[in-house]
């Protein structure tokens, strides 16, 4: 079971709803392995670079800033999330390809080997939220990578939750206002 604070699941769902009719995307950072913060990232897919109902592409500058933040703080990229507005909460063939670098190189390790892919589907009500791991294929005869679901447990709270880190972040943010 993949333990994720309820508030984080709800934040991803809220983002998905607000991004309608387009797909929402973002990152979940963890501290000490515990997911603790959702970062919404602008979806720049589409001709106008303002999002698409069928695709997502994260704003590269935001991607860069979040990575710098992780390098500085020791936070890790717990999950990459995005929404599907009309299909199931499982990785699409495009999602499977894009989990590798270069895309579709299923014989290599995935681009983010320690990161989950979380899918939020708005095709049903309440929305479905499911987590997946995408791993390299087991043999060259396979046409797809290995995709494994990690069932999510929506936790109310638990002792290892990095309260201090979270508090420091919030007080820091208030100070910067």
């Amino acid at each position: 079971m993949l333990k994720i604070p309820r508030a984080i699941v709800e934040e991803m769902v809220a983002h998905a709803r607000e991004a309608m009719p387009n797909e929402a995307c973002g990152m979940v950072h963890a501290q000490g392995g515990v997911p603790f913060e959702v970062h919404r990232v602008k979806n720049i897919a589409g001709d106008e670079k303002s999002g698409s109902p069928f695709r997502y592409e994260m704003d590269p500058m935001q991607q860069l800033r979040l990575e710098a933040q992780r390098d500085e703080t020791g936070e890790t990229l717990f999950a990459i999330y995005h929404s599907h507005v009309g299909s199931e909460a499982r990785p699409s063939p495009t999602d499977e390809r894009q989990a590798f670098f270069p895309p579709g190189e299923f014989d290599r390790d995935p681009a983010y080997p320690n990161t989950f892919y979380i899918l939020v589907s708005l095709a049903s009500e309440p929305p479905e939220v499911r987590a997946w791991r995408v791993l390299k294929r087991t043999s060259p005869d396979e046409t797809r990578p290995v995709v494994i679901e990690e069932p999510i447990e929506r936790a109310r709270w638990w002792p290892q939750w990095p309260w201090r880190c979270w508090m420091r972040r919030w007080t820091g943010r208030l100070r910067h206002r």
């Binding site: 995307c25 997502y56 592409e57 500058m61 860069l64 894009q98 983010y112």
Partner: protein
Amino acid sequence: MAVQVHVTSVIRNAVGGQRKVSADGGSVREVLADIEAKYPGFKAQVMDEQGQLHRFVNIYLNDEDIRYLQGADTILSDGDEMSILPALAGG
């Protein structure tokens, strides 16, 4: 021209695991060639054999996508910061 190049995690192993490399060159193309000279195999991660930037890779110069400048021929100034990022995308 000396520039700093940020390399994101996905392609860091192509530059010996570093987050940032210094490189010389008057244009993006020259800087990439300079990195290739130090880390053979690097350039193939970023562009094809014809020297076209891969569709699934973004290069930013300071805060701008070089596709909206002059692409790989974009001229650099001393102290510029370049960032190389694989697109994080899906459907």
